[in-house]
Amino acid sequence: MRIGIDIGGTFTDFVLFDPASGSLQTFKRLSTPHDPAEAVLAGLARLDQQREAERGPAGDPTPSLAEIVHGSTVATNALLERKGARTAFVTTAGFRDLLAIGRQNRSQLYDLFADRPAPLAPAELCFELGERVDRRGHVLQPLDPAELAALVERLTAAGVESTAVCLLFSFANPSHEEQIGAALRQAGLLTSLSSEILPEFREVERASTTVINAYVAPTLNRYLGRLAEQFQGVEFRIMQSNGGSISAAQARREGVRSILSGPAGGAVGAFHVAQAAGFSRVLAFDMGGTSTDVTLCDGGVRVTSEGEIGGLPVRIPLIDIHTVGAGGGSIAAVDLGGALRVGPQSAGADPGPACYGRGGLLPTVTDANLALGRLPADRFLGGQMALDAAASEQALTRLAQAAALTAAPGLTLAQTAALGVIQIANAHMERALRVISVARGHDPADFALLSFGGAGGLHACELARALGVRTVIVPPGASTLSAFGMLAADVVKDYVQTVMLAGTVPFAELAALGEALAQRGLAEVAAEGAPPARIALYPQVDVRYRGQAYELTVPLTPDFVAAFHAEHQRIYSHSQPAAPLEIVNLRLRAVGSVPRPALPTAEPGDPAADAAWLGRRPVVLPSGLVDAPLFDGAALRPGHAIAGPAMIVYKDTTVFLATGDRARVDRHFNLVVAVGDR
């Protein structure tokens, strides 16, 4: 039995998969933000009882709990809420302020009062050591053992919980970092070395990545230690930001690699579902209460090594996700110049949208959907929470008055404002989807849009229309997709080594250097339990034209030079085959594939969705008020077809189809919508 567990703000999701029987089941527990382990342990305990009960008098063996794949929300929160360890930073003399100076730019051009995020290691815990290595790894100034001994004493005296070490050019010669690491670890200090975490050039990004690792390590250690204690004999695996998983033991050493595990799980789950539905190019769209995450999959989940978390640079491979501060809880207001704005302020869960009836008086995107009849008031969260339509209407009417709107023909003032709020929210999200597609050189029209956030189903088809996307996919149980993705994730380990060689270096020489990474990757993925037959190695090389500041990554093969020119042509529209090259980094991705959980499947039947029919409701379209049918998503079967305008209510999301949109339920119970023309 394998279990995927994702801790969200409201719920902790559990997805169980039995590889023997192929069965898949999901359940949720309320999250326990004060101690996230509580919900996890409670959920696992419940599972234990259930298995006890199932064992029955006959004593049939139920599948044992073999493996748990888990996110690392604790590390993420420690970083974002700045509740990590008291962290020190050690670097080369002359560069103590490396973290504080960063790249010297400001994040907001026109805000005279904005500040950069403060470094995770405070100035009084940033230390220098006299030493210097040049770019070829030659020692210019050796490390002084006496100075190092004094540093160990100072760190101990300062009550430091975790230390990050990043020396200039340590990727070219790690010996000084290793000496420091040995001394600190001998003194019992938890230590992260940049040459271990990320042996790649560009000191600010390498240092930042190493410091994040040091900052979250103690928190992650305590948390995983506690889980491991409670569930001995179970293999714990941790989802990484690169879309793969690693063993808990490895994760504890390299916490920075799992900082974005939740969204990574979502992206992997989204791609797996889309692929099963026959789509390999997909825009994954996760619209939640306060923000929306979007990512693009082109034959696979895409990673970037130019990420940023909480305003701090990280250079380890991350799923390429773009986030905007617009969601169901985003507040609509009129600004000084008379424009209607949606967000970035959010009503959050408390007080929440006006319709939650918890004292929120400001209209949100959710209120607008309710006022337009697109969100059935009596069926929110499976009917567990009644929505106050009158409160939404009042809030939207006040907004309309502030904006001096006049009611559109046949509509109330509140409905007129609500249409505007939806349009503006969609404009925000359209812009986000363009960032991950157009800005990365893709035409959104070549992709399907997969919506899996709670608020996304109400907006997905309109957004698709605006972007020229022809297909929208809404999977069942969309809200547990992240936990599902963790189960679907392979074992993935990424390696990098800066080499900085002239492009004329013989391939055999590069291949020999790459072989060292390959041996390490093979051994470490095998140590994760992957059988050799299921391990694949993908050696890569970062190349650039001499003098350029940006590298491109291509597969490390004898033809890599031609591949580089071709890739440069494809991405940048020009190439200079005669220009000299620089070989910047060698990379390796080592993958141990795991058996994918199978999705529930049934053969398509009759298109008539009568069994799911819940009645008709008035709904406002841009063209006016119409009566539209309402369907129960849980009752839909493969083959069922629904034409818009219509609403389909699931337990965790509602899908709105406009006139012209045609939905069909595929054999995996996904709602697949052929998006109508504008």
């Binding site: 560069f95 790249r103 730019n105 026109y110 770019r135 000191e203 000084l336 157009v438 500041a549 200079q576």
Partner: protein, 547 residues
Amino acid sequence: MPPAPPDPIRLEVFKHLFASVAEEMGVVLRRTSYSPNIKERRDFSCALFDAAGQMIAQAAHIPVHLGAMPLSVQAAIDALTLGPGDVAILNDPYRGGTHLPDITLVTPIFVDAQPSGVAQNTDGAGERPFAFAACRAHHADVGGMSPGSMPIARELIQEGVIIPPLKLVEAGQINQGLLELLLANVRTPEERRGDLHAQLAANAKGAQRLGELAARYGLAEVQGAMQGLVDYAERMTRRLLAGLPDGVYRFADRLDDDGVDPQPAEIVVTIAIQGEEATVDFTGTAPQRRGSVNAVYAITLSATLYVFRCLLGEDAPTNSGCLRPLRVIAPVGTVVNARPPAPVAGGNVETSQRITDVLLGALAQAAPDRVPAASQGTMNNLTIGTSRAEPGAGDWDLAAGRPFAYYETIAGGMGGRPGKAGADAIHTHMTNTLNTPVEALEYAYPLRVQRYEIRRGSGGAGRWRGGDGVRRDIELLADAQVTLLTERRIFAPYGLAGGAPGQPGRNLLLRGGQEMELPGKTTLQAEAGDVISVQTPGGGGWGAPVD
């Protein structure tokens, strides 16, 4: 019939749509450009304009480009009859440019599929564009007397190749003669060719996306939204001005020197706020100089737009409407509105910062709780390079024997702010370019960074102290020419409300154990083993210090 003004909803929707187009232009430019200066330091801007040349939307990149872009478009409109398939190019500071390395491309946008919606010239001469896309990028070299084209010059022609508004592309065909002439006058022609093609691609993207919007919403709707957004920005600015107390606010500050003559140059501004409008008058400012600290009018306009834009708040629109309630008077022949043939390289990078300082100093009197003390007030331009191979390059293997040009601007202290200290080691006001990583620099050039740290104690004391500057020490591993174009080496960044001034910056040459003070603006032939130490100014403090 004029298009109906858009309602509050359309306004917001189109704000996102236009911003998205400008951002996509920026992405294309950054992706397809060749040079590190554009790709890594992001020294470029993209914007959209209406038929009259009013700026509608700008992708936020470099503030000094802000007010200058509309003047580039205006210069192209005035000088040329732009038809379908044409693209204008220019960099002449006296005809729509700011300084020579900043090359601007302007593309007219037509609606071809909707003949009925196309506005006609009154004389019936043909179609008129309904909008323009423009982008400006800082090219690492445009010729002139020194690598990097930021020399200590005495006349414009020494600073590089001058491009008046011309058609780089005519009816879809590149003007090869013009292109080859340009490339023959720069040091790195292939890099320039690549970057110009990237700029063409960016404008093409802008034209394509704006055309799509016109097809999706109709031309009248798009044009109505353009006017609506400019009016909206104007309303926001008027609200801002109405909220400031009426009055006349004067402030003066000085440039250290011009690199040729040692006298300081005073910049004076008088801001008269009356109701919803303001006059920004630079009368009293020093005459233009022999050295390159001369700013053209576009720079002065950019600085003015920047400071008012800052007071509007981060998410306000940035377009020509912001300038409508402002009257900017910059007397011709002064360092804030220079005439030919004055050199201008320092006007763009240094004087622009001082103009910002005086504007903020004046506005602090009207809005004391919203304006910080002076930030470092310079960009600390440092160029190290050779035009030919130099001996002594040692093991500098990857690039041995090649000429090189390393250009960098260095951060400094931000002024203390009412309510919080100024940030240390950060780029402020008119620039926001990134630094070159030490490890990237040592791979690329025969240079070694010995020290890169915060210059502690350089920020001015105050209730809210000024941010500290930076010290960057670079050792030369080969003989090379070093050019420094820096300010605030003599006159310190001011404090406000009783705060102390920040420390002025210093430029030092460390040679054989000796420390030699260098002038703020200088070119010298340095030797292998020399260390150039640039120590940047701290910001001024805000409020009297409390013990």
